[in-house]
Symmetry: C2
Subunit: 252 residues, 2 copies
Amino acid sequence: MIRVAIIGSGNVAQHLIAAFLQSTDVQVVQVFARNKKALEPFSGLVAMTDNLKDLTEADLYLIAVSDDAIGPLSMQLPFEGRLVAHTSGGAAIDQIASKNAAAVFYPLQTFSKNKPVDFSTIPICLETYAVDDYPLLEKVARSISGHIYKIDSKQRQALHVAAVFANNFTNHLYKIGNDICAENQIPFDILKPLIAETAQKIMTLSPAEAQTGPARRNDVSTIGRHLEFLSDENQKNIYTILTQSIQNDQKL
Amino acid sequence: MIRVAIIGSGNVAQHLIAAFLQSTDVQVVQVFARNKKALEPFSGLVAMTDNLKDLTEADLYLIAVSDDAIGPLSMQLPFEGRLVAHTSGGAAIDQIASKNAAAVFYPLQTFSKNKPVDFSTIPICLETYAVDDYPLLEKVARSISGHIYKIDSKQRQALHVAAVFANNFTNHLYKIGNDICAENQIPFDILKPLIAETAQKIMTLSPAEAQTGPARRNDVSTIGRHLEFLSDENQKNIYTILTQSIQNDQKL
């Protein structure tokens, strides 16, 4: 049984605890949270502490806190020479203070409170500072997911940026679609099957192959009518720039 | 049995034919296509013609051709006073020449060749010039879908623009994510569960509630690192504008 201690009580920490509780190879020996209240769903299921000095011995410490807190927290850990991984896509491996063996255990998914996720389908991106530490990290990851990738810090930076486009910015485009519907007394529900199909399509086609629409077919009159229709300067600007970007791809 | 004739042989026409072939209330009495070869999958299943003058009598004619061809085609129809609907989100109802009763029958979905769709979940947006024609159009729509909406031409224009954001532009953001992965030797597959979950989330949350990421939490240092990472000027530009747009929403 691999012993894992989890440091943090946010969305990622909670989803990791829930996933490891189902695993037969990994035991969550302790969870550290400054605010133990956040861990109420797990009371009775895992040992908890709000004092770093009381951290118990474990084979792996997973730090699931905000990016800015990783460095200071890893420095305060009351031990040395143990394996410590953060769970962030946005922080480099060297954010883990060098007195411990540094690693990254980054599950690439958007986690919402109270929305259970099927961890077995979530890609987990792994990196260890020392080659020798990789097998243990991989074993821990495999105990909850079937999709494990070895990703170094530079690749993870790229992946984090790519995820901002594919997740955060995509959601913002949904938001603009929602705003346009609301202004015209159209239920946003009409767009939902289209949104689902758009995401579904690229499971089997490349995004380049899946591209459709007025920009793709260079339908200048429709583009003109759309720009005339949009009164919000910000929406007009986004429409123009994304249309040009799609058209540039056609020229390559 | 309601008799429907379909004019066109593209993606929308083919998906409509396939859907009506399953319907017990609607019969496809004829399909017109300049290029009958495109309709090979339906040979033996529906009557076909490549001559407009041979169009048979029907209760409803559905014109599923490119936006620019709707007007000229509707003028060439060799009859008057019958119900004629186009299937476009981007064209106004008056594109149907006035010698016939005009209508719109717009299924809001992105159709790919060779990819079957479950029409029962696709929203169909209806409009008729004459109030009296609406019930028949609605009956035809209900025979293939459970999601029928009465949408006038101005609303349909709004919906078409909203769909460009939610579908075409979203797919382009997937494309940028894919490009960034490819440049860094990362399999695009890693992003697919994230893309699926992003689309899934707004089935139950509003896009405003579902928004996450560095722009949403005003994480200036991460945004700075991402912009530094991006070397492509176009990607940088899109990142900046969408980040500002998300930040502006927070200020409201």
